[in-house]
Amino acid sequence: MTWKANRLALRQGSLFPLCASTVAGIVIITPVLVIMWRSFTSGKMGFTVDLNVTNYLRVFADKDIWPMLNNSLVYAGGSALLGTGLGGLLAWIVARTNTPGKGLVELMPLYPLLMPPIMKNIAWILLLAPKSGILNGMLEQFLGITYPVFNAFSMAGMIWTFGIACVPLGYLFLLPVFLSFDPSLEESAYIAGSRPVHTMLKITFPLALPAFISAFVLNFLRALRSFETPVLQGTPGNIKVFVSRVYDSMALEFNTGLATAYSVVLVILSIITLYFYVRATRFSERYATITGKGYRVRVIDIGPWKYVTFAAVCLYFLAGIAIPFVVLIVVSIIPYFDYETFMTFPSHMGLNNYRTVLRHASFLNGLRNSVLLSVVIAVVTVFVGIVMAFTIHRTRAVGTKIFEFIGTLPLAFPPLVLSVGLVIIFVGTPLYNSLWALGLGLFVAYFPYAFRNASGAIVNIHKELDEAAWVHGARWRHVFFKVTLPILKPAVGGALFYIFIEAIRNVDVAVLLTAPGLEYGPVTLFEYFRVGQWAEAAAGGVIYLIILIVAVSVAKFAFKMKFSL
C-alpha cells in the first residue's frame, strides 16, 4: 500500500486491539530485555552499574562450564531419546499390532495432565534413592545385595525420570502418523516383493522419522528447560546443568549478574534447539504421509512377538504410571518415610500426614494462591492471546507482524530464566514478593501457549466470516465479541484448561518469586521435600492430584473436552 492508503487504513478502528497488544508486548519483552542488559553489567543492583562482560568471563572461566554443557546435552538428549523412542514404540504397538492389552496405553494422554512433574521426581526418588530407596531396600532384603544398584541422584536416574515423563509426547506425535498412514504405501512394497518385517523397516519406520525427529527435538527442549529433575536429583548427586546453576546463583548467592549470564547461555541453547524444531516440522510437512482421506489402517498379526510387545506395554504401564502413583499414595498414608516403615504397609496406615499438611499455614496459603492465580492467569493469558492474534490477523494496522515475534519470544526462555528477569525488575519495589509479581511471571511464561493457540485458531477461521460482519454494519468490537470470540469458543476452552493445569503445578516460575507468607503450593511441596519432610510432601502432592483429577473429569465429562496434550 502507498503511504497515503496506509494512513487512511490506520484511521479505521483497530486502535483498541493495537494498544492492548502493545501493552502486553511491553510486559512480555521487558523481563527478556532486563536479562540481556543485566548479563552485561556488574555491581550491586540499585547502585551504579558498569557495562562490561565480567559475568561472561566468569561463566567461561568456570572450570565446570564444559562438564556442565556436557551434562546438559547428555541429560536432555538421553531423556528425549528414551521418551521419544519408547513413546514411538508404544504408538506403533497400539496403532499397528494385535498386541493384547494395548488399551492400557490408550490412557496415557491423560496421565501427564494428572501427575504434577514434581510428584514424578518425588516418587522416583522414593523408589531409587541410593540409601533409603525402596527398590535398593528390596534388593538388599530379598537378594542380599548391599551395594545400591539404583541411584536416583545420578545421570541415569535423571534420564530415567525425565525420559519416562517424555513418553506421552513421543506417543502423541507418532500415533497419528501410524494411524493415518496411507496403506497403499505399504501395499505397493508388498507387491514389489517385500515381506512385512522388511516393509516395516524400509517403509513404515522411515516415513515416521520426521515426526520422530519433531518429538525428539521438542522433548530435548523440555529437558533443557526442566527444573525439578536437575535440582531435586542432579544437585544432590553433584551433577550440574545450566538450569540448576542459574537457580543456585539466585537462591544461594543472589548474584543476578552471574545468573543472567548463565541464563543467556541456556537461552542460546534453547534457541538453537527451537531452530531445529522449526526445521524438523518443515521437513515433516514435506514428507506429508497424512492426507485428509480417512484410511483404515491395517493391524498386523505379529505372531508370537505379540507377547514381547505385551510385556513392553505392561512394563510401561507399571513403571510409567502405576508404580509412582501407588508409591506416592502409600507414602502419604504411612507415619513417616523409611524402607522399614514402608514395608510394614498396610499396618500403620493413617491420615496423619494429611492432617499435618492441612494445618500448615504455608501449605494452605500456597494451595489458595495456586488455585486463585492459575484461574486468573488462564483467563487473562487466553484473552490477551486472542486480542493479540486478532490484532495480527484481523486488523489493518501495519507492522503487527512484530507481535508474532514478541508473543512467541518467551518460548525461547526457560521459565526459571524469565522469573530471574522479574526478580531483577521487582526487587526493591513494593511489588516484590507480591502476588502481582508471581502472576506476571506466570503470565509471561504461559502467554506463548495461549497466543499460539489463538493464532492457529484465528487463521483457521475463514476471514470472510469477519468481513461479512464488517460489511453488514459491525464495528471492530462487534466483530470481535459477536463473531470471532464465539467461534473461537472450543479452542478457548482447551487453552483455558491447559494453562490452568500447567500453572497450578508450576514450580520453575514461582520458585524465585515466592517468600515466607507468599507461598505457591507446588513450591511449598518442593521445599518440604528438600528439608526431608517426604511423607508430608507426598500427602500434599496427593491433594494436588485429587484437584487435578477433579478438574480433568469436569472438563472431560461436563465440557466434553478431548485431550491430546
Binding site: 487504513a9 468481513e467 461479512a468 460489511v471 454494519g473 459491525a474
Partner: protein, 370 residues
Amino acid sequence: MAILKVEGVTKVYKDLKALDNVSFEFDTGILSFLGPSGCGKTTLLRSIAGLEIPDAGAISIADKVQTSIEGGVLIPPYSREIGFVFQNYALWPHMTVFKNVAFSLNLRKLPADQIRRRVLACLDLVGLGGREERYPSQLSGGQQQRVALARSIVLEPRLILLDEPLSNLDAKLREEMRVELKKLIKKVGISALYVTHDQEEAFVISDKVIVMNAGKILQYDTPDELYSHPSDPFVASFIGHSTLVEGKVIKAVGGECVVQIPEFGNATLICAAPKLQISSGPCSVVIKNGDLRLSHENFAADTINVLEGTMVSREYRGGLTDHRVQIGAKEVVVTSHRLCPMISVDGESGKVFLCIEKSAISLIPQRASL
C-alpha cells in the same frame, strides 16, 4: 444519478498489478465483472465494499464518495450500507439462520418486533420460511446461499455485491439458482454487482458486463453486444463459442469489407463491419461456431464465403454437435443443432464445404500499441 462511479482505481500487490487505472460508471440493474481468475475482478468488488484499500483512485456509491485516496476519504465497510454475498457464503456457524439475517438489524438497534417482521419477510422472499431456527450447518449448499442473500438484502441497501456466489454449487443447481437469483434481485429492485468467471452465468444474470483481464477493463457492454461484437481478441476467446484467426482487411466499402486470411490458405471472406474504422491493415477475425453451415455437397454457386475443408472429428454433446473441420492450417469448430443433417467424419475422404454467413464474422482491428 449513477449508483456507482469508479475513477482511476489502482491496486498493486508487491509486483502484481491487480487493478490498473480502472474507471467506469453504472446506473441501475445488474452489472457483472467477468474474467479469468486473477484478473482483478474480486479485488475491484472488495475495493468497492471497502474491504480492500486501493493505492489510488476514487469510488462513490449513489453520488457519495466512499473511497478517495487522493482526497483522504475512506468510509469503513460498516458505514457503506451495502450488502455482500461471499463466495463461501460466510454464514456465522454459531448463529441460527434468523440471527444471521437479523445481525445488521440488531446492530442498528431496531425494535424487536420490527426486526422479526423484516427477517421473516426476507426469509419468505428467498424461500426459506420456517427454517429460521436452523443452524447453517443443517442447511444444504443452495439453502445457505439463500440465507447469505437474505442477510445481504435485509437492510434494503441500494447496492449489493456478490462474489462468485454460485461457484460452490453443483452444475445443475447453479443453473437453477442463477435464474432465481436474477428474479429475486429484480423483485427487490436493488442494483447488484456480480463477480463471475463463467461467461454463461454473466450473460444470464446481468444487464451489463465488464470483461476484465490483468487488472484492466477490456469491454463494458450488454451481453448481446459482447457476444456479437467483441472489441478485443481476449474478450472473444474468453467468451468462447468462436474461432479466432488473424486476417488482413484488403477492401472496405459501405459497411462491408473483405478480409484475407493466411491461415485459411489466403482465402478471402466478405463480412459486415458497420463499425469498422479502418479500410486496410491487420485485424483479428472472430467466427461464431454456431452460425456456420456445413455440408458434404457444395453450396449453390452464388453463395458467398464458401470454404473447402476436411472433417477431423465430431463430438456429440446432446442437443448440439461440434464438428472439427480442418481448413488450411486452422481447425474450425462448427456447432450445429441436433435437427441439422449429420455430417459423418469418414464419408467421401472427409471432404466438406463450409459456409460462413456474413453475420457470423466480426472483426477486431489490431491496436497500434500491441
